[in-house]
């Protein structure tokens, strides 16, 4: 689904991503782990088209999308939920969701049906549908941005640290939801600091350290690996 080959990207003099190669197969849930500053978010942003790579290639669903714009990526079927959560604070929940379906805005009935589906999956959002996005709690905002990302009917989802700042119960809920999404056929690339939980639900994992892949393998392999700690602390 997603193929990244020797990708490098950064911000001016700072090279955040250095020659990363990874893959996300169709229907897989792959997690990208690593300490703060390891380059995970930058990697996601580059795949999603929000950050221009300096070298390397990105392919999505068989197409080369290395220099694609974020708008194009959404149209091709990739949705991203950034680490910063980025709810539009003074748009209502309903408006946020409606905007998520921007590329499908002509399919009025299909969009409405998906909206109902989201409300079913996230009943708290339905309760608050006319409230401004900025008034929601952290957990509700996280649900909102995931639901919003789903509104474009994507084939693949990039999730950047969905558990950030949430209580353990909420984290479990969110992860439960992610598994449900995977069961529905979505391919998911999950960036997480909470390595344990991420490895519990993932098929495979990569560990990023200082912008480079330091380890990769099946989730169980990585979980069993005793190097995980040093990889984290070293990065």
């Amino acid at each position: 689904m997603i193929g990244v080959s020797d990708l490098s990207a950064g911000y001016g003099a700072i090279r955040a991503v250095r020659g990363v190669t990874l893959e996300l197969g169709e229907g897989e849930l792959v997690t990208v782990l690593g300490a703060n500053g390891a380059g995970k978010s930058s990697l996601m942003l580059t795949i999603a088209g929000a950050l221009k790579p300096t070298s390397g290639r990105v392919s999505f669903d068989g197409r080369d999308v290395t220099s694609a714009s974020p708008e194009r990526m959404v149209r091709l079927g990739l949705s991203m939920v950034p680490e910063t959560r980025d709810v539009f604070p003074d748009l209502t929940v309903a408006e946020n969701l409606r905007l998520g379906a921007y590329i499908r805005r002509k399919e009025v009935d299909a969009v409405q049906a998906d909206l109902e589906k989201m409300y079913e999956m996230f009943p708290r959002l339905k309760e608050r549908q006319h409230q401004a996005g900025g008034t929601l709690s952290g957990g509700e905002q996280q649900m909102l941005v995931i639901a919003r990302a789903m509104m474009s009917a994507p084939k693949a989802l990039l999730l950047d640290e969905p558990s950030l700042g949430l209580s353990p119960t909420l984290v479990d809920q969110i992860f439960q939801m992610i598994v449900e999404l995977k069961d529905q056929g979505l391919s998911i690339l999950l960036v997480e600091q909470n390595a344990t939980k991420a490895l519990q639900i993932a098929d495979r994992a990569y560990v990023l350290r200082l912008g480079e892949i330091a380890a990769e393998g099946s989730a169980s392999e990585i979980a069993a690996s005793s190097n995980l700690h040093s990889l984290y602390l070293g990065g």
């Binding site: 539009f88 003074d90 748009l91 409606r98 905007l99 921007y102 474009s152």
Partner: protein, 296 residues
């Protein structure tokens, strides 16, 4: 009592004009976080268009539509000439390029048309007056109020109900995130400039109607009005622009009525002092904008 009604009519018609001017400026600033110094020239362009088509004998309303259309086109052109090439570089760069573009346009008019005022055609109805509750006032004032109300309502509807309006509001808060939902960046920006041109074009019909002629520097006063109204209203809020516009009109009209004759020529200095006081009290403007917007 008649004095009061006179004041209300003056205040509302000026306020409507000011609010539209301010709105045209803020809609671009809100999304791009960039100030358009060439905004006043949209009014100049509308004026000169009226002058140029003035001899063709078309009904005035057609001429007005043509003038407004030119304003819209010039708004879009401003984006391509002054903004797009430098948008990514720095905020200051854009301020300067739009200032340079403004000078370019003004000197263009100076060179290719004339530095002297040129008369513009006005509809008959602008010369008529009407009496309301004992107060005689130009019909134009009432038309300004009506047009402002209609324009503001349509604009609000557009922003709140249409998908493009929601997309623009989202882009104003967080452009990158809007793009990551598939909202096409360039379309949003072009729409913002087009709407900016439309609002400026509409206001210019009444503004020029008051003056009756056009000069290259005619855009300066509206630019200043839009500037001040947006600053006191709060730069990132559309409602703030409208509130700022009416507040500024209130101050100006009020000063017109209360300043002694020999101080009247300093009215702008007084207005500005009051504005400074408002800013001292509330540096971010009167209305809170959307929570932290980020630049493109």
């Amino acid at each position: 009592m008649t004095g009061f009604i006179q004041f209300i009519i003056d205040f509302l018609s000026l306020g409507g004009a000011y609010a539209l001017m301010a709105l045209g400026l803020v809609i671009v600033y809100g999304i791009l976080k960039l100030v358009n110094f060439a905004y006043g020239e949209l009014i100049m362009v509308a004026g000169y268009t009226l002058f140029l088509v003035g001899g063709t004998g078309m009904p005035w309303i057609i001429m007005a539509i043509v003038a407004i259309a030119m304003s819209v086109l010039m708004g879009i052109a401003t984006d391509y000439v002054a903004f797009r090439p430098v948008r990514a570089k720095s905020v200051t760069a854009v301020l300067i390029t739009s200032f340079a573009f403004s000078t370019l346009l003004q000197n263009g008019a100076l060179l290719f048309i004339s530095p002297r005022p040129r008369n513009i055609p006005l509809p008959e109805i602008f010369t008529k007056t009407v009496e309301i509750a004992g107060v005689v006032t130009p019909v134009r004032n009432l038309l300004t109020i009506a047009t402002a109300v209609i324009s503001l309502s349509l604009f609000t509807w557009l922003m709140r109900r249409s998908v493009i309006g929601i997309a623009m509001r989202a882009a104003a808060t967080n452009f990158t995130m809007a793009r990551m939902l598939g909202v096409p960046a360039n379309l949003i920006i072009t729409s913002a400039f087009a709407i900016s041109g439309l609002l400026a074009g509409i206001v210019s019909m009444f503004w020029l109607g008051r003056i009756g002629a056009v000069v290259p520097g005619i855009g300066l006063e509206p630019l200043l009005i839009a500037f001040i109204a947006t600053v006191i209203g709060g730069m990132r809020s559309l409602l703030g622009a409208v509130v700022g516009g009416f507040l500024l009109a209130f101050i100006d009209t009020g000063l017109n009525y209360t300043l002694p004759q020999d101080l009247l020529k300093f009215r702008d200095a007084f207005t500005f002092s009051l504005v400074i006081l408002i800013l001292l009290w509330r540096p971010e403007g009167l209305m809170k904008g959307p929570a932290s917007g980020q630049r493109t």
